[in-house]
Point group: C2
Chain length 335, copies 2
DNA sequence: TTGAAAGCGCTAACAC
DNA sequence: GTGTTAGCGCTTTCAA
């Protein structure tokens, strides 16, 4: 079934069929109905490739994320996909892994597929070395690139971020105010957002003159899902005489591991030991007491990301960078 | 930059350029190099739409899932996307929600986009009423449809399932053998796979003459992430004098809620109370003691799904239904 | 309000 | 080994 078949059966030209297809106003009600009837009768569906060829767009956005099974990224993808669909766009998903090389490959693939825009979900797409970010600038020379929770200053690149620095800064101050001096910072990513969080912790600790021991800053490398391994990481610190009575964790998984650690060590939570998580994910309900965590307003971020993207695609002037504040959701693991 | 531009600059015909592009052997090394050089020099990328128009395929698979932020579905999507990409296919993701209507809409969209195949992730796409599954059969008349953890007998529809019935059946028997007679079944989905699980529980309990009280079968309706609500569901049973000392849960989230319930009620785990989860997700590490759970071999299922799909696309004869066995991973919540 | 016809960029059958 | 050419199905001027 092509537009030719329909035009023939309906006794009109293909141009008319095309007009009906695209809701052009310059068609008489009568012919319109006739054409529509024939279309329904034969169950006609326009060929997306042919349309794409002519219009040079298929209303598709490329979504890249390192690992769609990561709790946080999965949620972001969910929001983004929903909101795109409601605006009649759909999305090609690429799970890129964490290597620069595979990220570049995915990027090229999306460009090849002629997506109308690209969304990078998560801060791990931005690298320390500026030249390693060139692939993003290159892509942006072809289509708009949106960054969720990351920041890069380049033409046609737009950033939507949560103010991780301030969130952690304030949460750390709060914990200090409850009387804890030896607060450990526990993280597993040195991405853009990861560095901002760490800086927030540092700023608060230094402001209060508490950052005596650099060993209070602990980087966990290992699977993002392996909670026992994270717990072990903390236990191992005991042997090295690193003592702490509070943990600021860069995500809820790490916080959960900290809860386990505190339990095993015999601390009461929150009387002897405080823990703060990040993301306010479903994991906050997975321990006893429930986890105090920072809500970084993911849905709001995604909403704005899409709004900005659609604006850019329409040719409007849009803000290069949008920053939202997080919020500390107080539960049982902090005083 | 089109194939015409390249052919001109390289001093060859477009056919030759096309041959180089598609790795055809009938090109001399010399011309091949010449063409390749020009391509690189101008940064040429072939237009996917034009290619799609000619070949009538864009090597794209549609993936539908109700909610990509669901822990289990997200993992499945991850595996599927990875494996597809390694075979040079990419994927359009549709998060359909749980309504039949939106599922049908997504299905149509994918067909419109001319995907080469459709994968339905999760068992909630199959309905009780046969006529409600017609949309799948319809889609299958156009492209192969793959079901992950669901089953439908229709032409061009292929099923890859885990044997949920047997897994739960055996786990229930095991729990009974540890001396527990009042085992509650806790579930939140009446999908194909949900029903198979329940049947497994029923079979085991009836075999041992233990299914006296239908109230031991509890359906939780509510958010799939709201663990406190699930816990409350169990607590409310106490008021109705439903007593139980074991829980077979249809997924790890429900199991986690059961752990909380047991804690609150003052039961010791596993001395007074046993709990079994399902999916063997990261959540198993999120409680104390860690959760015994059924591993349904998701990665294996996904691997076979892709293999089968690729086979079908190549025109090979492929099994309509493939069944894998699950495995009980014993941890601390059962004796 | 409608129709004719020229692309859009590529593939593949056919000719040389 | 290489070139010519006819589609693929649709959109969009331009005329009527």
């Amino acid at each position: 079934m092509t537009i030719y078949d329909i035009s023939e059966k309906a006794g009109v030209s293909i141009a008319t069929v095309s007009r009906v297809l695209n809701g052009s106003s310059n068609v008489s009600e009568k012919t319109k109905k006739k054409v529509l009837d024939v279309m329904n009768q034969y169950g006609y569906t326009p060929n997306a490739f042919a349309r794409g060829l002519g219009l040079n767009t298929m209303k598709t956005i490329g979504i890249m994320c390192a690992d769609s099974s990561d709790l946080y990224l999965a949620k972001a993808i969910y929001y983004i996909e929903q909101k795109l669909r409601s605006h009649d766009y759909d999305s090609i998903l690429c799970c890129t892994g964490y290597e620069l090389e595979t990220k570049m490959a995915s990027m090229n693939l999306l460009i090849t597929k002629k997506v109308d825009g690209i969304i990078l979900v998560g801060s791990n797409f931005i690298y320390e070395k500026e030249s390693d970010n060139q692939y993003i600038a290159d892509a942006a020379s072809q289509v708009p690139v949106m960054l969720l929770n990351a920041d890069l200053d380049a033409p046609n690149v737009y950033s939507i971020v949560s103010d991780d620095f301030t969130s952690i800064y304030e949460a750390t101050l709060q914990m200090i105010q409850t009387g804890i001096k030896d607060i450990l910072y526990f993280y597993n990513s040195s991405s853009y957002s990861g560095k901002r969080k760490l800086a927030g912790y540092r700023a608060a600790m230094e402001e209060k003159g508490l950052l005596a021991d650099e060993r209070l800053i602990q980087f966990y490398r290992g699977s993002h899902e392996d909670i026992p391994a994270m717990t072990k990481h903390l236990s191992d610190l005991k042997q090295r005489n690193v003592i702490f009575h509070g943990v600021i964790a860069a995500d809820d998984t790490l916080a959960l591991a900290s809860v386990k650690y505190a339990r095993e060590t015999g601390y009461r939570i929150p009387e002897d030991f405080s823990i703060l998580g990040y993301n306010n994910s479903m994991l906050v309900h997975c321990c006893e007491p429930e986890l105090t965590s920072i809500d970084n307003k993911l849905e709001t971020l995604c909403q704005h990301l899409i709004t900005t993207l659609l604006g850019v695609l329409e040719g409007s002037e849009m803000p290069k960078k949008t920053v939202f504040s997080g919020e500390i959701v107080k539960r049982g693991t902090t005083r």
